[in-house]
Subunit: 331 residues, 2 copies
DNA sequence: TTGTACGCGTTATCAA
DNA sequence: TTGATAACGCGTACAA
C-alpha cells in the first residue's frame, strides 16, 4: 500500500541505509547517488513513518506545546508562530491544551514526553512555574523552552517581554495625561505575569507620588467576565477612577462593555487601557489603547530555541509596543 | 531510563503479552492478574510508546484535525471540543493548521496520514470540499469526518448545522421587525457555508417580496477588516440599509466599528446581526444579535463519529440558536 | 487463560 | 562512500 524505505531503495538501486542517509541529510553520500534517491523519493511520494523514526532513532521530529490560556487569540497566535518555525525544519507541533486546575495536568504532559517522545517541549504560563512539572521534565532530561516564565529563569531556555516595564510604560502614559485615579484589573493569580504587570502599575503611580488605593485594584482572571465584574464595582464607587488599566485586552473589553452600559463617554469620562497581542483591541469601540505583546513572535522564537542546536539555556527578550488609540486626560 | 512493557512484565511476574492485554482492555485476563498488572503499571508510571504501538499495531491512537479558519475563536472551540472527546478514549489529537491558499495543502495533509499514521481525520471548511484532498484520502482509505461539508455529503461521515435555515431565521427576524433594506456581507467564497447563508438571506427577503439589491450585498472574507470595508461602502449609499446581516461575527464587529465611527446610533439607526459561536458577540457594543453555531459541540460530535466503531457514513445535524440582543425596527 | 516468536519501518553500529 | 544486520517497543498470530 504505502511505500516504505525498502521500496525506494530497490527502485533507486541502492541500500536502505543510503536512502536513510539522504532523508536525514547525512554526509558521505555521492552527489549523483543523492540526486537519484531524491528523485525516486519524490516520484513515489514517499513519506517516512514518524512512528518508525521515533522508535529507531533518537529523534521523533515532533515537539510539544503545553498551552492553557483563557484567551483564544493567545493560543491561536502562539500555535501559529510555533508552527511557522517548525515547518522550516519539517517538524510536527503537537499542541497539548491543558487544564491548569486539573489533577491530570502532570499526567497529560508526561504523556506527551513518554508517549509521543517529543524532541522538546514549549511551556506557556502558568505551567511554566509549576514546580512538579518542571521537576518531572528535568528528571526525563527533556529540552524545554518556557514562554514568559516567572521563576528560576536559569532552569530552562526562555522567551519573554519585560512585563513590568510594559505595564510601567502604560501607567506613565496615563499619568502623563493627567490621570491620578487609575483603576487596575489584575490578571489570573496563577500567572506570574500578573504580578509583574501589577508591579509596573505600582511603580508608575509611585513615580507621580500616588499610593495604591485598594478600592481601585480588583482581581481578575484574564477573561471578559472578570473585567466586566471589576468595572461594575469600580464605576459605582463614590469617586470612580478616570482611567482603568486591565492586565489583558479581554478584560479591557469587559470594562468597555460595562462603561457603555452605564452611558459613559469613552474616553471622555473614562480611558480604558489593555495589554495583549492587539488582535482583539480593534474589535471593540473605541479601539483600545494597549500594550502590544508579540505573541506570534514569542512562539516563533520559542520554537527556534528548541530546534536550534544550541547548548545553554538561552534567554531571549522581545520588545513590546505601546499603542495609543483612545485615551485622553481626565475630564 | 523510561520503563518498557518488558520491565512491567518482569515486575508483575507475567509475560509481555499479558501486560499488553491489560493495556488494551482485551478479554481473557484473570481478574487478579489484571489487578496486579494495573497496579504495577501505575506504580511504575508506565506509559506505552505511541510510536511502537503505531508501528506494531493497526492503530496509532492519534487522530488528525485539519483546520484553517480566519476566526481564532472557531479554531479554539473546535480544538477544545475534539480534545474533550479524545480524552475519553486516551487518543491524541494532532491539530494541523493548514493554509488554504498554499500549494502545500495536499502535502501537509498527506503527511498527517502517511507520516503520523492517524486513525482518522477531521476536516473543517474549506478543505472539506477540495476534491484533490478528498480523493487522496479516499485513495488511502482513511476514516474521515467532515464538519459542515458543502458537497457530496455521502462521501464521508459529517456533522453540520443547517446554515441556510439559520440565515433564513435571522432574515425573518429582521424583516419581522420591519426592515426591508437589509445589507448582507458574504463569507469567504471558498467556504460552502457562505453560499448557504446567502441563500437563506435571499429566501428570507423573497418571503416578504423583496428582491436582492446588489448594492446591499458585499463580498467578505470572514474577518474583521472585510466587514469594516463592506460597511464603509454600504453606509455611504444614498439609501443606506437599516440593518446589516454579516455572515459571521468577526465581520459584524467590523461593521459595528465603522457604524460607531460614523456616529450612528445602534440599533436605532442601524441593526447589526452576525453568525458565529457567540464567543465574540458579547465583546462588542452593543452585544450582537447573532445566530449561535455550537462550534465546540460540532468538534465533539465529529470526534465521536471518528472514534465510535460505526460502519456507514453517518450524518449528524446539530441545532442552531437565534440570540436576539440589540436589534430594533427601522427608524 | 497465558506465553512464544515474529514483524512493523526506520536508525545505529560496524564492517567493507 | 556504501551496505548488512541488529536493535527500538509493541501488537499479532498461533501455540500451549
Amino acid at each position: 500500500m504505502k511505500a516504505t524505505i525498502k521500496d525506494v531503495a530497490r527502485e533507486a538501486g541502492v541500500s536502505i541505509k543510503t536512502v536513510s542517509r539522504v532523508l536525514n541529510h547525512e554526509r558521505y553520500v555521492g552527489k549523483d547517488t543523492r540526486a537519484r534517491v531524491e528523485a525516486t523519493v519524490a516520484a513515489m511520494g514517499f513519506r517516512p513513518s514518524t512512528a518508525a523514526r521515533a522508535l529507531a532513532g533518537r529523534r521523533s521530529f515532533q515537539i510539544g506545546l503545553a498551552c492553557d490560556n483563557p484567551s483564544p487569540y493567545y493560543v491561536y497566535e502562539m500555535q501559529s508562530g510555533i508552527r511557522d518555525r517548525c515547518q522550516q525544519d519539517g517538524v510536527r507541533m503537537l499542541a497539548q491544551p491543558y487544564d491548569r486546575d486539573s489533577d491530570r495536568l502532570l499526567k497529560d504532559i508526561a504523556d506527551l514526553v513518554d508517549g509521543a517522545r517529543v524532541d522538546g517541549l514549549i511551556l506557556t504560563p502558568p505551567v511554566t512555574d509549576f514546580a512538579p512539572v518542571l521537576a518531572m521534565l528535568a528528571d526525563r532530561n527533556v529540552r524545554v523552552v518556557r514562554v514568559s516564565p516567572g521563576t528560576s529563569p536559569e532552569l530552562t531556555a526562555s522567551v519573554f517581554i519585560d512585563n513590568q516595564a510594559a505595564a510601567l510604560a502604560m501607567t506613565r502614559h496615563l499619568t502623563g495625561l493627567g490621570h491620578r485615579r487609575i483603576g487596575f484589573v489584575q490578571g489570573h493569580p496563577s500567572f506570574a505575569t500578573s504580578a509583574q504587570r501589577f508591579e509596573g502599575y505600582r511603580v508608575g503611580l509611585a513615580e507621580v507620588g500616588v499610593a495604591i488605593d485598594r478600592a481601585l485594584v480588583r482581581k481578575g482572571a484574564f477573561d471578559f467576565a472578570s473585567g466586566a465584574e471589576a468595572a461594575e464595582v469600580m464605576l459605582t464607587l463614590d469617586q470612580p477612577p478616570t482611567a482603568i488599566f486591565a492586565s489583558n485586552d479581554d478584560m479591557a473589553a469587559g470594562i468597555l462593555s460595562i462603561a457603555h452600559r452605564r452611558g459613559l463617554n469613552i474616553p471622555g469620562d473614562l480611558s480604558v487601557a489593555g495589554f495583549g497581542d492587539d488582535a482583539l483591541a480593534g474589535y471593540v469601540w473605541p479601539p483600545l489603547t494597549t500594550v502590544r505583546q508579540p505573541t506570534r513572535m514569542l512562539g516563533f522564537v520559542a520554537a527556534d530555541l528548541l530546534l536550534m542546536p544550541t547548548t545553554g539555556n538561552e534567554r531571549r527578550e522581545l520588545s513590546f509596543e505601546l499603542i495609543v488609540r483612545a485615551s485622553t486626560g481626565p475630564a
